[in-house]
Symmetry: C2
């Protein structure tokens, strides 16, 4: 494979862009890439917008102790997942991404092309409605840094904020919980994951993929939660306890997590966790990056399909786990 | 100054955000920072969007040969300038920024606060209409990387693209030309710029500031160009010859730059250039980062106030300088 030898410092910006853009799939913008800026539709007169970044050696490693090598595809997919998830958590539909790539000159062009493929596949799987990459930026740096800003359309609905939960509400969740944390433990373990697709160890390989290429809840989950009267919602990116705490703080309420249900969820991860010497409950309560949706609903609301009650909202403050202090907190990008 | 000792690795994400957000000025969004995403107004049912990144050691150095130390304020200001400029080049009005900061743990908190001040001052000076920082992201990395995505409102107008220039059009420019390149030469020189505000050398200090805190053309210039019938427009970020080439290529035309006028502009920079051993015409033709607006107008159009004719559009291809091959090209983020 001679093209393996080609690195980005051997191409100018135009040549590298020419390798990226054809891979990104159909353009859904009113005016797509190629000018100073793109123009996207905002049919209800508003745009939802957020930004999120993946940094080499902070958010991913190119090579892990397990032997797994993070692919460009993984990084592109994950960039889409974490950005789209923020839009879904408002009850909106993702409409565009703009992507900035900071790349060391030694980065293989193959890896960058694979990243473009991962962006396209991530959009196709996680934001199939009408999203595309409408613009970007390329630059040099000492580490790979991938930043995307994402826009969304509320389709006339009010956004579901973090601040509306009320005492008596039901706390419910949809999506993976603890899997991405389990995957991180796999990546950092001595289990051989050099070729996870070829391993017989489907349990650990599945966790690895949940970390490297997270799936999101079904695309209609956010709007369905809004339609069901969700009083608060966010995506669980930094761990259940930490993110539940954000709803509690923003809403001025307390949240008690259901220890029974969450311990049952943890039990299903116990065999894998035991092999890695890990506590599956810590994955459930403290693991981030699963990007499930956590929402509060009025006590009489019918939970939308797929949402599972995992707690209750009460008059008070902070987050408890079966009435007690939680055994773990969660992920902070700056703390120790 | 004891707070000089504080670095970002001594704060958690929430504490660092608490130091940044109060400095950012009034929030103009429908829903501002603090939730999974922000909501901005898009009154005409469209949003213009772009993204741009500044990377330490690629786009700026913390310490220059001249002794100047890039301030957080400079980086914040420049982040606003280069992003807002892309919106203005479409004929739109900037409406929001989302900003992602990747910071080494050793970064002084003072420097980050200064960056927030620079964002606020940049918005106040360069995008005073209704723009604010509506969201952000914080993470760790080995270098400072500042990425912003910016949105804009076309106010019902059609965007001014790069692709509409026609043979016979007048090519005109508004804004600085060559100053930022001169400033880069100052920064990289042995002239002592440790304290540019205190130096008697106002000429070189002025160039330095044009590089570190670029000014943009008056805020109404983009819409005025659109109203005057501009057939193509972009902002000059990578050098006049290179960016004129983008209009030429997108429009399927040739552009001849007026050697007389551009040599006259260069002459005004000649004293400073001579002191630095530089060619002022190379600054004019090849320097980027001034973020003036370059636009084509029909031959019978009255140029809006401040625009200066610097060339003509003809049937053909490529960019010439007084009918000859230009002596310099411009800046490419990846080429050698």
């Amino acid at each position: 494979m001679p093209s393996n030898a080609l690195t980005v410092d051997q191409l100018d910006e135009k040549a590298l862009l020419a390798r990226i853009f054809p891979r990104l799939g159909p353009d859904t913008a009113l005016l797509g890439p190629g000018d100073d800026a793109a123009v996207i539709a905002a049919p209800d007169g508003r745009s939802v917008i957020s930004i999120d970044t993946l940094v080499q050696d902070a958010d991913f490693r190119l090579a892990w102790p397990s032997g797994y090598r993070t692919t460009g595809f993984d990084v592109g997919w994950k960039c889409v997942a974490q950005n789209v998830s923020d839009i879904r958590a408002m009850g909106a539909v993702p409409t565009s991404l703009v992507v900035s790539l900071t790349l060391p000159g030694s980065t293989a062009v193959d890896w960058v092309e694979d990243l473009a493929d991962g962006l396209a596949a991530g959009i196709s799987a996680l934001a199939p409605e009408r999203c595309s990459v409408v613009g970007g930026d390329l630059g040099r740096g000492s580490q790979i840094v991938v930043t995307a800003a994402v826009t969304g359309d509320l389709e006339g609905r009010a956004p579901v904020l973090r601040s509306g939960a009320r005492p008596g509400d039901v706390l419910a969740h949809i999506g993976a919980l603890g899997l991405a944390a389990g995957g991180l433990a796999v990546l950092e373990s001595s289990v051989d994951m050099t070729h996870p697709g070829g391993t017989d160890d489907q349990e650990l390989a599945g966790l690895l993929m949940a970390q490297c290429r997270p799936r999101l809840p079904p695309v209609g989950s956010g709007p369905a939660a809004a339609a069901a009267g969700a009083t608060a919602m966010l995506d669980v990116s930094d761990g259940l306890v930490r993110d539940a705490g954000r709803i509690a703080r923003a809403s001025g309420v307390g949240i008690d997590l259901d220890a029974g249900i969450l311990r049952t969820m943890a039990a299903s991860l116990a065999p894998a966790a035991a092999r890695l010497g890990a506590d599956p409950l810590a994955w459930i309560l403290g693991g981030g990056e699963d990007h499930g949706l956590l929402a509060a609903f009025p006590p009489d609301a019918a939970l939308p399909e797929g949402f599972v009650q995992i707690g209750t909202v009460h008059d008070g403050e902070g987050v408890t786990f079966g009435g007690q202090a939680p055994p773990v907190t969660g992920w902070d990008h700056f703390a120790g």
